[in-house]
Amino acid sequence: MKELAFLAFVVCLLMVVPTQNTRAETTSNDVEQELQSLGLQSAAEIMSAIETGFLQGRLTPDEMVSLLSNLAAYSGEREDKEILLLTIARALKDDSLPVTMLIDKVEEGLARKVSLQTIRQMISGRANLLAEVRDLLYMNLIFTSSEYGQENCLVLPLPRFDFLVTQIADTLANYQESGRSPLEGYLIYQEMRTRLSMLQQNAIIPAEDVELILERIKPESLTHILSNVLGQQQQ
C-alpha cells in the first residue's frame, strides 16, 4: 500500500514539475537586459527605481519588459525615451507614488503611435496629479503605514491606498484631458463619486474605502488640485 502511495506521489510530481519548468518567468535580469539595450545614460538610476518598485510590489518584471521592449522598438529620440523612463522612475522612487497608470499611458501612447513628446507631456501631468492626490489623502489623514486606526479605515495597506490614489488621479486626469473647467468642483466630485461607485458595485474595491473618500474629500480640494496641476503645466 505504501509503495502504491509513493508511486502515485512520484507520478504526480512528474506531472507537476515539467509544467512549472516550461513557464519561464521574467526576472529582474531580463528587465536589466532590456534597459541596457536602450543605451541610456541614467540606466543605473532607472534600474534602481525599478528594483524599488519590485520590492514594494508596485511593478512586475513582465510589465517592465513589455514597456522597455516596446520603447526600444519605437522610433524616436533616445533622449525622449530616457526622459519618459526617468519621469516614471522618479515618481516611483523620489515621490514614492504608484506608477501603473503612467506605464499604462505610455503603452497606450506607443500603441496609438503618438509622438514621444506628447506621451511625455501626458505622463508628467499625470505624475503631478498622482502626487497631489496622494498628498490630499495624507492631508485628510488617510495613511499607508499599518500602525493606526484600522477600525475606522484611517490606515490602508499599500495596494489599497495605491489603487485609490490611482483611480482618483485617473478620474481627475480624464476630466482635465476632456477640456473641462477645473473650477467646477462639484462636477469633478461627481465624476470621482461615479468612478468609485462603479468600482464598488463591481466588488473591485471595498465599500468602506469609497465611504472613507467620499466622507473626507471635498469638491473644493479637487478644484484646488486641478488648478495647481494646470498651473504647473503652464509654467
Binding site: 483611480q167 476632456s178 461627481q190 463591481n202 473591485i204
Partner: protein, 198 residues
C-alpha cells in the same frame, strides 16, 4: 569628522534652532487653546449628536429612540432634498442610470465578450489596458461581418479600443463608459468578481 561628532553636532544645531524660536514657542499652547475655544460653538449639532450617542450607551431604550429619531429626520431630509432641488434630482437620476448600465453589462464574471460589427474588414483587433495595449485578434468565423472574441479577465477597470484595419474605434456600444485619451476615445468596462455583474 568622527561619526559621534556629527551626530552630536546635528542634535545641538537643531536644538539651538528650536531655542531661537523661544518667543514663538512660549505662546503657542495658549494660542492654540484660544483658537480652539473660539471655534467650539461651530461644532454645533454634530458635537451634540456625538455626545448623545456617547451618553446613550448607558440606556438601551434611549439609544433606540435616538437612532429612530435621527433616521426619521434624515429620511425626511433626503426625500425633501431629492424631490425639491432640481440639482440633486439630476444627480440621483444620473447615478441610477449608470448603476443600470453596470448591471446589464455583457460580462460574465471574468469572461468579457468583445463584439465589433465591421463588414468587409480584413483584420479586427482589440487593444487595451488588460494586455499592455497589444492587439488581440477578433474572428468572424461565419463571415457575417460581426467580429468577436471572448477574453478571460481578472476583476478591474479596463480601458480599450478596437482597431479595424489599422484604424482606432474607441466607442464600443457595449462599454460602461467612455473617456478621452490622446485626443481620441477609449471605451471602459468594469469586470467584477464572478457573478457580481451578470
Amino acid at each position: 569628522m568622527h561619526k559621534d561628532d556629527l551626530e552630536k553636532l546635528l542634535r545641538d544645531t537643531l536644538q539651538r534652532e528650536v531655542s531661537e524660536e523661544r518667543h514663538y514657542l512660549d505662546g503657542l499652547d495658549k494660542k492654540i487653546v484660544a483658537e480652539l475655544t473660539g471655534r467650539l460653538p461651530r461644532r454645533g449639532w454634530f458635537h451634540t449628536l456625538t455626545r448623545l450617542f456617547v451618553q446613550m450607551q448607558r440606556s438601551h431604550r434611549r439609544q433606540l429612540a435616538v437612532i429612530g429619531i435621527t433616521a426619521v429626520i434624515f429620511l425626511f431630509l433626503g426625500i425633501f432634498v431629492s424631490e425639491r432641488l432640481p440639482l440633486f434630482r439630476g444627480l440621483f437620476s444620473a447615478y441610477d442610470e449608470q448603476h443600470t448600465t453596470t448591471i446589464t453589462a455583457n460580462s460574465d464574471g471574468g469572461q468579457l465578450l468583445f463584439v465589433m460589427p465591421a463588414p468587409g474588414a480584413q483584420t479586427v483587433a482589440v487593444v487595451g489596458s488588460f494586455n499592455n495595449w497589444k492587439p488581440i485578434l477578433l474572428t468572424d468565423e461565419d463571415e457575417d461581418g460581426i467580429w468577436l472574441t471572448n477574453l478571460s479577465l481578472t476583476p478591474g477597470r479596463y480601458e480599450y479600443a478596437f482597431v479595424v484595419d489599422g484604424r482606432w474605434w474607441g466607442q464600443d456600444p457595449l462599454a460602461d463608459e467612455y473617456v478621452r485619451s490622446f485626443g481620441g476615445y477609449n471605451s471602459v468596462r468594469y469586470v467584477g468578481h464572478t457573478g457580481d455583474n451578470i
